[in-house]
Every structure is written in structure tokens, then in C-alpha cells.
Symmetry: C2
Subunit: 254 residues, 2 copies
DNA sequence: CGCAGTTTTGAGACTGATCAATGCCTGTGG
DNA sequence: CCACAGGCATTGATCAGTCTCAAAACTGCG
């Protein structure tokens, strides 16, 4: 009982829900006391995934649901010959694993980009949430709907934007999401990505991604050095990407 | 009161929920009596959209939710210069408009491909559904999660498949969805699409789509004539597209 | 210092885009 | 019954964007 090992999926809650770092943020909506209480009891563990590790694997049968507490990750799928497509990036507040409730097997994988902390919820207790906390249930739907909006945007990008526009779009997207979570310092963010990740998210080759990024750098729109992204000309990026800035009411999370 | 006009959005329910054509299908799960009763009262109208008409427009503030009862449509987004991307196709049983519950404005449009019949639900009563019918609430989440799975697949296609593979994938996807709904006769389906629609769904130009389709026809994989699609070599298509056939439990719908 | 992973660069090949016609149906009006 | 218009499908020629291959230059780290 004593001397609990420092395992990846320990029984110890390093982060009590009452002091959830997400709740402190302005972007996220607060909980009613009884909701907080329920979520606290729903959380059965905290998972620490090391940078580069696979959190979920396509084909797995998953019995847990996760909320990202801290860190960056990405969802991806691969074709049988190894071609990989990053579907989107996973940031704090994102809910992972809902798909497993409608598909027998996981249809995508999730990998940690940085060290990632996740709250773990047992899938079989999801029913309790729906039964006793309709408000939280709506929040889950809200999160799913938001995912869909992001995927739609991405689809438009892959289908109809040129490489340059696509990269500008992705950069803005990442920057704005990071900023929303307070991860940006002025016009600068630390992105734990390699250009290979960008390429796989953009549906481009590594080489062409590099050349495109170089062009964006040379025209003084952005600056990318060793994982630090700096937005030099926000408006020009927005124009280039034809970025639509969508207003959102405060986000829920679980 | 008599002589009710044959309006697009009449107050008359041509299709009572008790005899919903979807319920008769094997793919869809049944309702408990009280659920059926609730949904029946939730449905406030039936909308008939003529082929080619716009059902929902990006930027609109939408106050209704819809279930497709019959017909084909598609969701799409456009860039400010007119480039259009079809996000996915909408078939009977699909639920439309959930996104509006998290975004102030619609982030995509929906257009009818054939004449389409939709059940109309008021958005503001969604809360009642969550509060009183947790089972239906889970169904909604299920539907949203399934959407996400489809979008993920699509994203992989646009990002990493070649034109040929992409087309094979889309054709299989459409065929299997139609078949699931009993819209296929043997290896043949009537698809109310032009090649322009295919192109916009695939992220390709019209010309290249045509040439690619021609190649698929010449190699005896499919046959496409005036809106009729015929699968000539299913296995070869599956292999070409690297199509993953995912098993699904019986679908819910609202 | 040397390695492994990443970024950068150049050259050439190829996929898919664009432009420009032409052909093919189907419905309409004379 | 024919002429014609409008929407779609088809084709060829050329062009541009992106990919692949190959190699070199960097970077952080043990």
C-alpha cells in the first residue's frame, strides 16, 4: 500500500479535479458543484505518456476515455503501406476516445508529441453521466460537434487549398489554439513538432513542406526555428490562408 | 384550414414517426415506446427540399435540427474565391445541424442532390431530450462520433491517397452506404451525382476526375452511366483503395 | 567527437491542373 | 418532327505544383 510505484498509470491523482488547471482558464466553462463531484469520482486514474509514445492504437479495443490535461499529441491514421495522415492535433481540454463508443475498434491512433498528462475515465460509466448529468452529456456532444467543425475545416484545406495556403492555415490554427490555452507568449509559441509532422498533417511530402515553409519564412510571414513558431505577419497569413475566424462561446470540458 | 397548400415546410406530417420508414430497416435500431412518443412530439414539421436547393447555408444562424428521411444531399464548404469542397454525403438516417449547437453560425452548407425529405426538430428543445431521454442523448453522441469516423476516413483519403485510389474509395463508400439503406440493386446503385460533385468531394479537378473515372471504367472495375453506378470488381476496388471495412453495431437515429 | 535525427538544397520525373474544344443527351418551342 | 439550347461528359495539349531521389548541412546529445 505504501511505496506506490511511479507507474505510467498510477492510482494516485496528482491532479485533483477541484484544482484542475483547465478550470482556471478563461476559455473553459466552470462546473456546478455536483458536476465537479461526479467528474471527480468518474476519474479513475491519471496517465502520463512520454513524448513520442503511442497513447491509443488503431485497431485496439479501448475501454477508457481521456481528457488531455497537459501536453500536445496528434490523432492519425495510416494506409496499409505506411502512408500516414495526421487528422488533427490534440491539446489540453480535448476529449479522446468517444469514437470507441460507436465503433468496436479504434479507427485511429493517438501519439504524444510532448509529455502528455491525461485524465482516465472508464467507458462503461459513461451511461451514468448521461443518466444523471444531462448537462455534462450535452457538453460531450458539444465537444464532438466541435471536433467535427475542426475536421471540416481541415478537409477543406486538404481538398482545396494549395500547399502554401494550407501551411499558412495550419500555422494559424496551431497558433490560435495554443494562444487560447495560454501557451503563446506574444506572437511566439513552442510547437513540439518536426516538419515531418507538419507534412503528415498537410498531406504533403516532407521536402515540399520544407520548401514551402522556407518560402513563408523568406517572405517574412512566419519564423520557425527549433520548435519555436513566431508569427511575423498575422494579417498576411490570414489573407493567404483565407482563414475564417469563428467565434465560440466558452468551451465545456469534462 | 382545409385545402392546405403543398408548401415546402408544411405543418402536416406526411410521415408519422410511428411508421417511420427508417424504423423498418434492419440497419437502424428500434425505439422504446416512450422514446418514440417523445420524438413524435419533438418533430414539428417535415421539410421537402427540391433537388439542387440549398437546405442550410454557411453563415446562417440555424434554429432547427434535421433528420434525413429520404433522398441524397451533401455538406460542403467554400473558400472565399469559390473553390468548393464537399465534406461528405448526407443519406437517410443522417442527423444534420448538431454543429449549430456549439457554433453561433453554421460553418458549412447543405445542398439537396435529389429531392430530400427531412424531419424538423426545434433546437431549443434539445435540452428536453438530454434531460428526459439519456438514451436518445447517447444516440446523438453516437451519431456525432460516427460522423467523425467518416470524416477521419475522408481526411486520410484527401491527404494520402492518389486520385485513382481516392476515387475507388469514394465509390466504394457511396456504394456501401447506399446498399446499407437498401438503395442498391445487386451491384448497382442510382447515384444522383454529376462528375463535378465527385471532383469536389475528391479535391480534384473535374477534368482529372473524368479521366480517372474513365481509367477505372476501362480497367473493368466500375461502370458509370447517367447516374447509375455499377460495381464490376468489388475486390479489386477494395484492394486499390485499401478500403478498411469497419463493422458497426446497429445504428441509432432520431 | 561522433552519432542520429532533422533540416535544407538541387535535379528530374510525374501527377494532376488549366485551357480549349468537341461531342452527347434531353427537354423545349416552333 | 426538327432545330436548338443548356448541361454534362469527353478529349487533347500544355503547364505547374508537388513528389521522389540523393546528398549535404545542421543540431542536440551522449
Amino acid at each position: 500500500m505504501n511505496n506506490i510505484p511511479h507507474s505510467t498509470q498510477g492510482a494516485v491523482f496528482q491532479t485533483p479535479c477541484a484544482h484542475c488547471p483547465l478550470r482556471a482558464m478563461q476559455t473553459f466553462r466552470g462546473f456546478a458543484p455536483e458536476e465537479l463531484d461526479f467528474v471527480r469520482r468518474l476519474k479513475i486514474a491519471e496517465l502520463h505518456a512520454v513524448a513520442g509514445s503511442t497513447v491509443l492504437l488503431e485497431g485496439d479495443t479501448v475501454t477508457h476515455l481521456y481528457t488531455v490535461l497537459a501536453g500536445w499529441g496528434f490523432r492519425y491514421k495510416t494506409l496499409s503501406d505506411g502512408r500516414r495522415q495526421i487528422l488533427n492535433f490534440v491539446l489540453p481540454g480535448d476529449f479522446i476516445g468517444l469514437q470507441s463508443s460507436c465503433m468496436a475498434e479504434m479507427r485511429h491512433s493517438v501519439e504524444a508529441l510532448s509529455d502528455v498528462t491525461l485524465c482516465v475515465f472508464p467507458r462503461e460509466r459513461l451511461w451514468e453521466l448521461y443518466r444523471d448529468h444531462p448537462h455534462l452529456a450535452m457538453d460531450l456532444t458539444w465537444l464532438a460537434a466541435r471536433q467535427e467543425v475542426l475536421l471540416d475545416d481541415n478537409l477543406l484545406s486538404l481538398g482545396r487549398r494549395t500547399a502554401r495556403e494550407r501551411l499558412a492555415y495550419l500555422i494559424l490554427h496551431l497558433y490560435l489554439r495554443a494562444k487560447e490555452l495560454g501557451l503563446a507568449v506574444g506572437d511566439e509559441v513552442a510547437l513540439p513538432l518536426t516538419q515531418q509532422h507538419l507534412a503528415d498533417a498537410l498531406g504533403l511530402s516532407l521536402v515540399h513542406t520544407n520548401k514551402t515553409l522556407k518560402r513563408l519564412t523568406r517572405s517574412e510571414l512566419v519564423h520557425w526555428r527549433g520548435g519555436r513558431l513566431r508569427i511575423l505577419d498575422f494579417d498576411a497569413l490570414v489573407a493567404l490562408a483565407r482563414y475564417e475566424i469563428g467565434e465560440q462561446p466558452p468551451r465545456p470540458f469534462i
